[in-house]
Subunit: 188 residues, 2 copies
DNA sequence: GTCTATACTGGGATAGAC
DNA sequence: GTCTATCCCAGTATAGAC
């Protein structure tokens, strides 16, 4: 019972650091303190284990994002809460974003779907908040919620990329503050 | 003479598709129509070959971005030219952005520096264009060029990520148009 | 310069004992 | 359920012939 859980947790940790392809079952097993048999008993293989790890990440992410986007009176404040919520370890990148780049992940229907749905959900949530802001007259009436939501979500993802490339978390903050300033400029 | 070149071109192609870690010398050699000896004659190893490939990508990228950012009368038009320039194969992602996620790349000083400088250069170019726009009164005087540049560059990178996750290039366009609309809202 | 053959390592997965 | 031993394959790199 707990071994299965240890495997999932170890996989989450390692996949965040190394991605999917570069995370070997050997490392997972060492980290979880389990033998090879355990993994293949509880899961069909590496892919199934990774899927379980991503599913758990999704649950946590949805809870966190949902809380952020619900905390604030104005739409801009809610988006700000989302963009500035504790991004533990900016330099490690986004748990989901980093997986997207890997061919192995994209080629796996199970993994790709999991990751794709997460991002689609986030864009939907952001669009809802922005639509609300437009309807309440906070934003200009001609602001496109779907495109704006995509831009906000993209700025966050790109912020991770730029910060990692520069090896400097301040670049992440620049991107986030930059897009927030632009969003405030779109107020009615 | 030409073998060395074929190796670099094959590496560029494959690294764009699979990244660094997942690109094997075997594949490169096959694609270049060369034998194992050739590669180790011209380059110290996989890493040195990858560095040569990234260097060549940098040159091309700088030429393209420089042309885009110089083509237009207003600052917004220049940024638009940059964001909407032919991003051949949006779904393949950014040649540089995808490398950033890989631990193997980040852990290699040679490769990491190459990629980091590219992004720093782009942010600098964008900041210069936006500074120009502020000084000419096109943008609000309180618009922060550095942060805005980071936001624009991040939206582009994130657009790649979101489009790939959704397996839909339209999401990239949404992110790009979204950030451009915000930028227009920041006009003086 | 370029090839083929080979060495060595580590990957994912299975078999069978406990 | 879990472990150890083992298999097969692919990765990077080297050696030595041409």
């Amino acid at each position: 019972m707990t071994t299965r859980d240890d495997l999932i947790e170890a996989t989450r940790e390692l996949m965040w650091e190394r991605g999917y392809g570069a995370t070997s079952p050997r490392e997972i097993l060492d980290a979880a303190g389990a033998g090879k048999g355990s993994m293949y008993h509880h899961f069909q293989g590496k892919e199934a284990l990774a899927q379980a790890a991503i599913e758990r990440n999704s649950e946590q992410m949805k809870a966190q994002v949902g809380a952020s986007l619900g905390s604030g009176s104005s739409a801009v404040e809610r988006v700000r809460a989302y963009l500035t919520r504790d991004h533990e370890a900016v330099m490690k990148g986004c748990q989901f974003g980093r997986l997207v780049q890997e061919p192995e992940v994209i080629d796996s229907p199970a993994l790709r779907t999991e990751v794709g749905e997460m991002f689609a959900w986030i864009r939907g949530q952001l669009a809802a908040v922005i639509t609300d802001g437009v309807e309440r007259g906070e934003f200009r009436a001609d602001l496109d919620p779907v495109r704006t939501a995509a831009a906000v979500a993209a700025a966050l993802q790109g912020g991770y990329v730029l910060a990692r490339a520069a090896q400097n978390a301040a670049v992440f903050d620049d991107a986030v503050e930059g897009v927030l300033a632009l969003l405030e400029a779109a107020r009615a």
